[in-house]
Each structure stands twice: as C-alpha cells, then as structure tokens.
C-alpha cells in the first residue's frame, strides 16, 4: 500500500516542474528586455513623482528629497577631487623620497605609501 503524498511532496513535485521553467524564463533574452523596460518605466515614474513633489515643496520654500540627492552628488564629486589631489601629493612625496633615497641610500623595496599613512 502506498502512502498518500503530503503537502510537501506535492509542492516538491510542482517545484521540480516549475523551477527549471522559471529559471529558463529568467535566463531568456525576452525576460531581460522586459526587466529593462520595467526598470526604465519605474525610473521614469520615480522621476515624475520627484519632479511634482519638488515643485510643490519649492513653492512653499521647502527642500525636497531630490535637493538632498543633488547635495550628496556634489559632495561625492568634491570627495573625488580631494582623492585625486591626495594621489598627486602622494606621487610628489614618492618622487621626493626617491630622489632623497638615491642621494643617500639604495631605494626602498616598495615605493608605495604605508597603509597607516592615510588612515587609522
């Protein structure tokens, strides 16, 4: 006499059938196209919503979320500039060290700055 299948057995059989098909679907080019379109629509809807709320808030002289985003992006750009300047200083420092080293002693094994020089 065979046992009646439990709910889990039924699910497992169903998952065995459906799982590979779903995986094939998500791997397909068509699915990628749909995701791309959905994503673009979502972005557009978000932008529209932000534009409307920004207009409303600015009319009351209040900052909107997108203002914070712009500020964050500007701070990010500023931070990138600082990083770039820091790299230039490092390079100059290295060249100076190498010039000094060449006058006094053999060059160090590595010319890069120590980890501790820029952090904790």
């Amino acid at each position: 006499m065979t046992e009646r299948p439990g709910l889990r057995d039924i699910y497992d059989r169903l998952a065995d059938q459906v799982g590979p098909q779903l995986t094939d679907l998500t791997a397909s080019d068509r699915f990628a196209d749909v995701v791309e379109v959905v994503d673009a629509l979502r972005m557009r809807a978000t932008n529209e919503l932000q534009r409307s709320s920004r207009r409303f808030l600015h009319a009351w002289n209040l900052p909107a979320g997108s203002d914070v985003t712009v500020l964050r992006q500007e701070i990010g750009a500023l931070e990138r500039t600082v990083r770039s300047l820091a790299r230039q200083v490092e390079t100059l420092q290295r060249q100076l060290d190498e010039a000094d080293g060449a006058r006094v002693a053999p060059a160090p094994r590595s010319s890069r700055s120590r980890a501790t020089s820029n952090g904790a």
Binding site: A15, T23, G76, A115, N118
Partner: protein, 338 residues
C-alpha cells in the same frame, strides 16, 4: 513533542521579530589603514613568521563571509594554521565611489593593500587570495603590476569567462539602472541572484526553514546565510559600465588578450608566481566553465586547479569546506610559502 513545539514557537517568534540575530565576524581583528572608503583589516591570532594572506572580496556582497561564525570561518581556520590573515573591505560604495573603475581597484587599492601587508610580513611577500569577482580583480592587478610583492596567487570561483555562466549574471544583462549615488542598487543585484532559481531561493528555502523551525542549529545556520546572502551592496557604477565593455556578451577582452588597464595591455600570461584556482563543481553562480580557462591563460609554471564538490559559498563555508576545501588550500599555501 512538547519540547519540539516549544522550540518551534520560540524560534518562529525570534525569527519573525528579528530577535537574537547571529553575530557574524567574531574573530578578533584591528584596522590597519584606510584608503578612501576601503579598509584594510588584520586578524590578531597569527603566529610570527607566518605566511601573510590577503583576502580580497568581490564587489557585490560583504566580506564578513570570510569569517561567518566560530567553527565556520575561513579566517579562523587560516589563523589556526598559523597564517597572518589580512582582509580588504571595499565597504558600500557611495556617491564618491560611483566613478571607481577597474583601474581604481587593480592599480590603486589592491597594490596599496599588498604593499602594506608586505611591509609587515616576515617574508616581505604576500599570498593574494581573491574570491569570485575579487579573484578577477586580483588576477588583473597582479598581471598589470608585476612589481607587486605577491609570492602566491589563489583565486576561488573567479569568473574570467562570465559569458559561459548563467545568463542572468552576465555583465550587461543586469539592468544598468543607477541609483541617486550613481551606483547599481543593491536590490538590482539581489534580484539578479534570486532569478537564478526563483523557486528555490524565494519559496523552497522558506518552506525548508518552516519545516525545521524546531532545529536550533538549522535555524541559526539559515539566519547566518540569509543575513549575509541578502546583504548585497551597491555596485560601483563606472565599474559596471566598464565590465560590460570588457566582459559583455559576445566579447571578452581578457580572453581575447586585448584588455588594457589605464592604457597598458594586461596579459594574464605574465603572471608567473605559483597559482591555485579553486573551482566548485556544483557552483551555479560561477560554474566551472567560467573559471576553467584560467589554467591556460595564467603563465605560472607552478599552477594547480583544485576542484571540490561544492557550491559557490560552500568552497569555504560549511562542514564540507571545513573538512576538504580549506585543508586543501592550507596545504597548498603552506607548501608554497617563501
């Protein structure tokens, strides 16, 4: 029976309410340095004169997976073997990191970390250990910077040929939408991984958990893995665009030998130090065929391919990894120490 029911009720309540989340990354460590957002950590339990191993994580999840929990930790095992373990933590990219490119990682951050480790190392050299995309970054970094003091190179599940892997994860297939920071949102990445097997990832795993809710050990292990696995981080926007150019469908500049880093040609054939490639035979994220070309591409005379019956994370997490894969890696590194 009553005891099991009580356990089930207790574990369900704790799970739903998020009480008693397992603590990850407990091995003692200290911060050695920072560069921009990147942090370099050193684990404290190491012997003198031990080989120095620098762990380099992928850019899509957090590196705490190297040190999940006591008894299930690569770092702990490496420390127990006497290795001096260091870890490069990319942290989550912010607006300032959106313009980071492969050059930023391979020509700046990795060489910076290698140099710091080498200066503290007894041998003056480092074993570089890259996982997943971190493996690709280490390969490119070593090939492009031959002066780096790297004595051995170990890569795990390094997808050098992602076009041979699952379509959902190929560069260019993950929707190129960028959030307000200019990076690819973490949720976009999470959904790409879920889409590899949506039934298993979203339903079956939860059913399994429900059925074994009275098993404390299983519930803890599930929480540990899902907490880490779902904790994706943003992907640097410029790197995503560059990877699509370099490794997108229908082209693979690294395999073709046309890849350039900051204008310099990068040839993996110029890698000459001992090389170990670890491949998981059951890996569905970076299947073996995505890493197999490495043995032909890398120029080392001393190269080893270690194949283990494991999945992507199972290479160094879980009971099987603790018994087989990690000891294999420890033996290889020990045999190749300077």
């Amino acid at each position: 029976m009553l005891e099991a029911t009580t356990r089930r009720l207790r574990n369900t309540a704790r799970y739903v309410l998020g009480i008693g989340e397992p603590e990850l990354g407990q091995s003692p460590r200290h911060l050695v340095g920072t560069r921009d957002r990147v942090k370099l950590w050193r684990y404290d339990r190491h012997g003198d004169g031990a080989p120095s191993v620098l762990l380099v994580m992928s850019l899509v999840t957090r590196p705490v997976v190297f040190d999940l929990q006591p008894g299930n930790s690569l770092v702990e095992r490496f420390n127990a073997a006497g290795f001096d373990v260091w870890m490069l933590d990319w942290d989550e990219p912010g607006p300032a990191d959106a313009e980071n490119t492969l050059e930023t990682y391979c020509d700046d951050y990795i060489p910076w970390a290698v140099d710091a480790v080498a200066q503290a190392s007894a041998s003056g050299a480092v074993t570089l250990f890259g996982y997943c995309l971190g493996g690709v970054l280490t390969l490119l970094s070593v090939a492009a910077n031959p002066e780096m003091p790297v004595e051995n190179l170990v890569v795990l599940a390094a997808p050098i040929a992602p076009d041979r892997g699952p379509a959902q994860l190929r560069p260019g297939r993950i929707a190129m939408s960028f959030d307000e920071t200019g990076n690819v949102p973490a949720e976009t990445l999470r959904m790409a991984f879920v889409s590899l097997d949506p039934v298993q990832g979203e339903i079956t795993a939860r059913l399994n958990l429900w059925q074994r809710m009275d098993d404390d050990e299983y519930v803890t292990a599930h929480r540990v893995m899902t907490n880490w696995g779902n904790d994706h981080i943003r992907f640097p926007g410029a790197t995503a665009r560059q990877l699509t150019e370099v490794l997108g469908e229908g082209r693979n500049q690294i395999l073709e030998g046309t890849f350039r880093l900051a204008g310099r040609p990068v040839d993996l054939g110029s890698i000459t130090m001992p090389f170990l490639s670890v491949i998981g035979e059951r890996d569905t994220i970076t299947p073996p065929e995505t890493s197999e070309p490495l043995m032909d591409l890398v120029g080392s005379d001393d190269q080893t391919e270690l194949r283990v019956p494991a999945g992507h994370v199972g290479l160094f997490v879980g009971g099987s990894a603790m018994k087989r894969c990690i000891p294999g890696m420890i033996d290889w590194i020990t045999d190749h120490r300077a």
